[in-house]
């Protein structure tokens, strides 16, 4: 602006200042006349403001350049002060006229006022350099006006909320004074700062420090602002509480940090929820009853933690053990109880409020609450976040939702920004419009514009956000956005005042949350089901060596149902309080010494939960955690001693037991147990399976033992293992594994847990059937997993359907063709999912299809599966669309064999195969496979070795196989891992064994190959099937 400077030398200073505000370059001419010219300020001027911002800055620079000449200019300013003051008058008038415009204009762009204080200040810096004596009055006047003026423009700025950018203009530069850190006596920080102030006043300008800062959070130090260290030294010389030792310079970058303090946003007022910071009640929620701002104290009501017994001891002069660590639990004061302990209770009337209090030992009680007078400093108002439980306790018995509401509204103070969003459904909680519902239309700072629900009201109403609460209706699907259950989603089932009850998508638990903490959301999140290594329903051991099941996962802690059988004990455990997770397979004995393992269904015989039953989820130290989905507490978990339970049905852990176990519904998918070793039970033969299904069909399934693999512990056959064929009274008929005969043994002589034998580690999967067993078990896993991962607890009714759908959908497309083809013989249809177009249908009708043989079974199977206690009944039901056409016997049998796709590829090949498809997710996803069968030719690839052909002799439960090397299987027998085995694809006219699909285990002859399909003539049925080549293996009979 050299031009202007030239023209208006006298006005330089003021001009500069005005430019900052008004940018009136064009009108500057007018000033020359002593301000008599009417200024034509129009709004359009303001439009230029932004454009001229740069100019402004240039000016700033100019100013700096002129820095040295400040004195001269100042003097000049002084000289023409007369004119200037005139001008100011005018300016002031004009300004006030156009205040509004100015403000409006400024709203839209970077506020030119931003620089003003800066400039103003700088100007003022120079001021003291001037000789002030001569023109004091006028200068003062000028200053006053300037200030007034800028004050106004500041006003504008502040109205717009000083932004960071604006504040940034004030960042310290090298020209600014520096901050020095000085040590002082602890606790005297403020005093020192004030004393320095006093000293400066007393000593006048000789002390050249600019300011002294005492921070509340920094003890032992104060900051002194000065240009030079020497000034600081000078200032602190002789000060009592300042240690003159070391003066540290605060780096320029850290200067702003020194002055940035968090102001406590929420002040404490009546009905505010606070937490106590210190003492016995540390961390406890309290409600402010009264505040004395002058004395800095508040009366709060808390749930007392008073040990009456100790108190009574103390009062009666008895020895009081000083147990400091012990904090009495919070519970309401029972005055009668106190009286019983001969504690003097006074009844006092509070003169201020007229309320009556019970006074015990200087403590005031009312309605069971303790009214406590505390220092405001000992209260924490930040992040109070009262949990529901806490608030529930505070709720007076007679207090209705209304009383609740008033205190709830104080919670609103904790709201985050952007709490309300357009479209939110809200309800007015205060004022005349109370209970008016509407939708949020627009949100301004503290005002929410809502579109009311009612007719006859204006289109939108502006309501303070403090008077609004979110509102939901049953059926809304919502997400919890704050509080302990943050992240959970669920469906609103009921609304009580401002409390929303929702059923969590994850746990199916009822969650009570404030409407305020919830947003409507279609999102279905699992919520948190896992923190660290611990998941919902895990069994964990805690710090104090107690253990329990995680029944709920909150945002930072777990709810653990402790393993205390006497009474349900739920503890809140933080992550760090958990020692480890118990993963081991542990067993326990029930009352009748049956060995229980996880998944066994037990019935509780005594205790508070007597009569309940459900599968065992965890076993630890003789304590069972039983899951009963009808048990509504503790996420369905019940903790009982193992000897107060009775096993119901069979042990699920033992694969052969069909009972009503979870696996039973899959049992039809697996080959009858023990098949391979027992010639009596050819894999696809009916006989083996007969036991299972026969047993069930005959209604004997109720005896858990039938079908179980047991070990004989005593007597002549001690050590033998076998399958239970029948149970009669205390006698059990066992088909021995080793001797091909059925023997009768006393029930007490058997142990139904074969896996106790080390060699049979996994034999509970059923040793012969191990292979088939695996796949059939596998579904259990996915079955289980959802329970944890996505919260799709299979036991929860709701989740079944989708599961089932997923599993069974593949069939649906098949149904029409089935109808077309085989109206008469559904059974055969079912047996031949392989009935792809082109397969000779005639074969299907052959009587001997295993399916037809089983036609009568399905119903049994079905019923059985459907028993309510069968937690897996979903699955049993699942096949139903399929069953009618598929005599149930069929699926039990065939799929079992079908099911074990020898290769992962087995899956795609059998689109129609029920069993297979059902399992397919497993097959596809699981690395456990492939599932080989004995007597097939394979190539063994061992690291370092060449591929050698071999014949599988036995498939071990762990998935590995015993293989006799040599293409005819007469070489050495080695045990090989599944991943080292490769099935040798059969050639045309080879004898084959079917590894996958409905015919798994069946043998046949490959009569032709069509691309990836093999045309197989099945030995037993003489059926011709088209099967995927990958499911076929070359058969080598030993």
């Amino acid at each position: 602006m050299p031009r202007r400077r030239d023209d208006y030398e006298d006005d330089v200073e003021e001009d500069d200042e005005y430019d900052g505000v008004d940018e009136e370059d064009d009108e500057a001419d007018g000033y020359d006349d002593g301000g008599k010219v009417k200024r034509k300020r129009t709004t359009s001027d303001f439009i230029y403001d932004e454009a001229e911002e740069d100019e402004d800055e240039e000016e700033d620079d100019d100013d700096e350049d002129y820095g040295g000449g400040g004195g001269a200019r100042r003097r000049g300013g002084g000289k023409r002060h007369k004119g200037a003051s005139n001008f100011f008058d005018l300016e002031a008038q004009v300004d006030s006229d156009e205040e509004e415009e100015e403000e409006e204009g400024d709203d839209d762009f970077i506020d030119p006022g931003a620089d003003i204080p800066d400039e103003d200040d700088r100007r003022m810096h120079r001021r003291p350099l001037l000789p002030r004596e001569d023109e004091q009055e006028d200068v003062e006047e000028i200053e006053r006006r300037i200030q007034e003026r800028y004050a106004r423009s500041l006003n504008v700025e502040y109205d717009d909320e000083a932004t960071d950018v604006e504040q940034q203009a004030l960042l310290p530069s090298v020209r600014d004074p520096k901050l020095w850190m000085v040590k002082c006596a602890i606790g005297r920080e403020r005093e020192v700062a004030v004393c320095l102030m006093q000293k400066c006043i007393d000593r006048g300008p000789e002390l050249q420090i600019r300011s002294a800062v005492a921070l509340d959070h920094l003890k032992n130090f104060i900051y002194i602002e000065a240009d030079k260290e020497a000034h600081v030294k000078e200032a602190i010389k002789g000060m009592r509480n300042i240690f003159t030792g070391k003066i540290m310079l605060v780096p320029i970058k850290e200067m702003t940090d020194v002055l940035s303090v968090e102001s406590k946003a929420i002040d404490i007022s009546r009905d505010t929820w606070v937490r106590l910071k210190i003492g016995t009640y540390k961390g406890d929620l309290a409600k402010v009853v009264d505040v004395d701002n002058v004395r800095q104290r508040a009366t709060v009501k808390v749930i007392p933690r008073v040990d009456l017994q100790a108190l009574s001891n103390k009062l009666e002069g008895r020895e009081v053990p000083k147990k400091k660590a012990f904090t009495p639990p919070a519970r309401f004061m029972n005055i009668d109880e106190a009286r019983e302990l001969h504690i003097r209770v006074e009844r006092r009337r509070d003169p201020a409020t007229g309320d009556y209090f019970e006074k015990i030992e200087g403590m005031m009680f009312k309605d069971g609450f303790l009214y406590k007078n505390v220092s405001l400093k000992s209260l924490s108002t930040q992040n109070v976040q009262p949990t529901f439980d806490e608030l529930e306790k505070f709720r007076q018995p007679g207090e209705t939702g209304d009383g609740d509401m008033s205190s709830l509204s104080t919670l609103f103070a904790n709201r985050k920004k952007g709490h309300f969003m357009k479209g939110d459904r809200v309800i007015v909680v205060k004022g005349d419009l109370r209970n008016l519902k509407g939708w949020v239309e627009k949100v301004e700072e503290d005002t929410v514009h809502i579109k009311p629900n009612e007719k006859g009201l204006p289109k939108t109403l502006a309501i303070s956000d403090k008077d609004l609460c979110k509102y939901f209706e049953p059926g809304n699907h919502v997400k919890v956005v704050s509080g302990a259950t943050e992240g959970a989603t669920g469906m609103v089932v009921s609304v009580e005042g401002h409390v929303v009850n929702l059923v969590s998508d994850t746990t199916k638990e009822l969650i009570r949350v404030f409407a305020d903490n919830v947003v409507e959301s279609s999102e279905v999140t699992s919520g948190v089901t896992k923190i660290g290594d611990y998941e919902l329903h895990d069994l964990v051991v805690l710090d104090d060596n107690s253990f329990g099941v995680i029944i709920r996962v909150e945002s930072e802690a777990f709810q653990v149902l402790k393993g205390v059988p006497e009474r349900p004990d739920v503890a809140l455990a933080r992550l760090r309080e958990i020692k480890y997770k118990v993963d081991k397979k542990i067993f326990a004995k029930d009352r009748f010494k049956n060995t229980l393992s996880v998944k066994d269904v037990v019935k509780i015989l005594d205790g508070p939960c007597r009569g309940k039953q459900g599968p065992v989820e965890h076993i630890y130290k003789g304590v069972l955690f039983i899951y009963d989905r009808h048990h509504l507490e503790h996420a369905g978990f019940i903790c009982v001693k193992s000897d107060s339970c009775m096993m119901v049905g069979g042990s699920r852990a033992n694969g052969e037991r069909n009972g009503n176990s979870l696996t039973s519904k899959f049992s039809h998918l697996r080959t009858p147990p023990r098949v391979p070793p027992s010639p009596m039970r050819p894999p696809r033969g009916g006989h083996g399976g007969h036991n299972n299904f026969g047993g069930r069909g005959g209604g004997r399934g109720h005896d858990a033992l039938i079908g179980a693999t047991v070990k004989i512990r005593l007597g002549h056959y001690k050590g033998c293992k076998g399958r239970v064929k029948d149970v009669k009274g205390s006698t059990v008929r066992i088909e021995l594994e080793s001797q091909m005969k059925v023997v009768a043994v006393d029930r007490s002589h058997i142990s139904d847990n074969v896996n106790v034998t080390p060699s049979r580690e996994t034999s509970r999967y059923g040793m012969g059937s191990e292979t088939p067993m695996h796949p059939s078990r596998t579904p259990l896993h996915p079955y289980m997993t959802p329970m944890r991962d996505s919260g799709v607890t299979p036991y929860h009714d709701g989740m079944r359907t989708p599961m089932r759908d997923r599993a069974w959908n593949p069939y649906t497309p098949m149904s029409p063709p089935r109808d077309n083809w085989e109206d008469g013989n559904p059974g055969s249809w079912a047996t031949s999912p392989q009935y792809q177009p082109g397969s000779p249908p005639s074969r299907a009708y052959e009587a001997p299809t295993p399916g037809s043989g089983w036609t009568n079974t399905p119903s049994n199977n079905y019923n059985e599966a459907g028993t309510p206690r069968d937690s897996g009944s979903a699955y049993a039901n699942a096949p139903s669309p399929y069953l009618p056409s598929t005599p149930g016997g069929q699926p039990p049998m065939t799929p079992s064999s079908a099911y074990l796709p020898g290769t992962p590829g087995g899956q795609p090949m059998t689109p129609g195969s029920g069993g297979l498809d059902m399992m397919s997710p497993v097959v596809g996803a699981d690395s456990e496979g492939p599932w080989f069968l004995p007597d097939i030719l394979v190539n063994v690839r061992r690291p370092g070795d060449d591929t050698t052909p071999g014949v599988i002799r036995e498939v071990l439960p762990d998935g590995s196989s015993k293989i006799a090397l040599g293409s005819s299987g007469n070489g050495d027998v080695v045990t090989v891992l599944p991943n080292e085995i490769e099935v040798v694809p059969p050639r045309k006219l080879d004898k084959i064994k079917i590894m996958g699909g409905a015919h798994r285990g069946a043998t046949g002859k490959l009569i032709g190959i069509d691309g990836t399909d093999g045309i197989v003539k099945v030995d037993d049925t003489l059926d011709v099937k088209i099967l995927d080549m990958v499911s076929l293996a070359k058969l080598v009979q030993a």
Binding site: S96, E99, P117, D118, D120, D121, M124, H125, R127, P128, R132, Q136, E140, E143, Q147, E148, A151, R152, L154, N155, Y158, E161, A162, L170, L171, P172, P177, L179, E189, R190, E191, A193, V194, L196, M197, C200, I201, G204, Q208, I209, R210, S211, A212, V213, L215, D216, E225, M255, T256, L259, V261, E262, S263, K264, A265, D267, N293, V294, R295, L376
Partner: protein, 122 residues
């Protein structure tokens, strides 16, 4: 910043104690004792007329404030400028207050054309 003649810039009263009696003006953040406010009001905010109406003192000041800064030379202090108290009288101020002036008092500020900035919410 009213000159008192003799060249010395008017200085606000300096707190006479350092304890709980201290209060801070909600507008300018000047820190004084309750009694000082009651007797002589706030040097920067005379329009609140605290000295005339003692109830006003309670409304216009707060005992809840954070940090203390003694500003000897507001015009040349960077800290004062940063805290936007550079135009007030030298004296003791606080770094931050947590409460806002009540709307009535805010209106007074507006009528008087003095800036008022709401405390920053954390």
């Amino acid at each position: 910043m009213v000159n008192q003649g003799g060249g010395a810039v008017a200085v606000a009263q300096i707190p006479t104690s350092f304890g709980h009696e201290l209060r801070a003006c909600l507008r300018c953040r000047l820190v004084k004792t309750y009694d000082q406010f009651r007797e002589s009001g706030c040097e920067n905010c005379p329009f609140f007329q605290m000295e005339d109406d003692h109830e006003r003192v309670v409304d216009c000041t707060t005992p809840n404030f954070t940090g203390l800064i003694s500003v000897m030379d507001p015009t040349r202090s960077w800290a004062a400028r940063w805290l936007r108290i550079g135009k007030f009288a030298p004296g003791c101020y606080t770094l931050a207050v947590s409460e806002a002036l009540n709307p009535d008092l805010q209106n007074i500020c507006e009528e008087e054309h003095v800036p008022y900035v709401l405390p920053k919410r954390v």
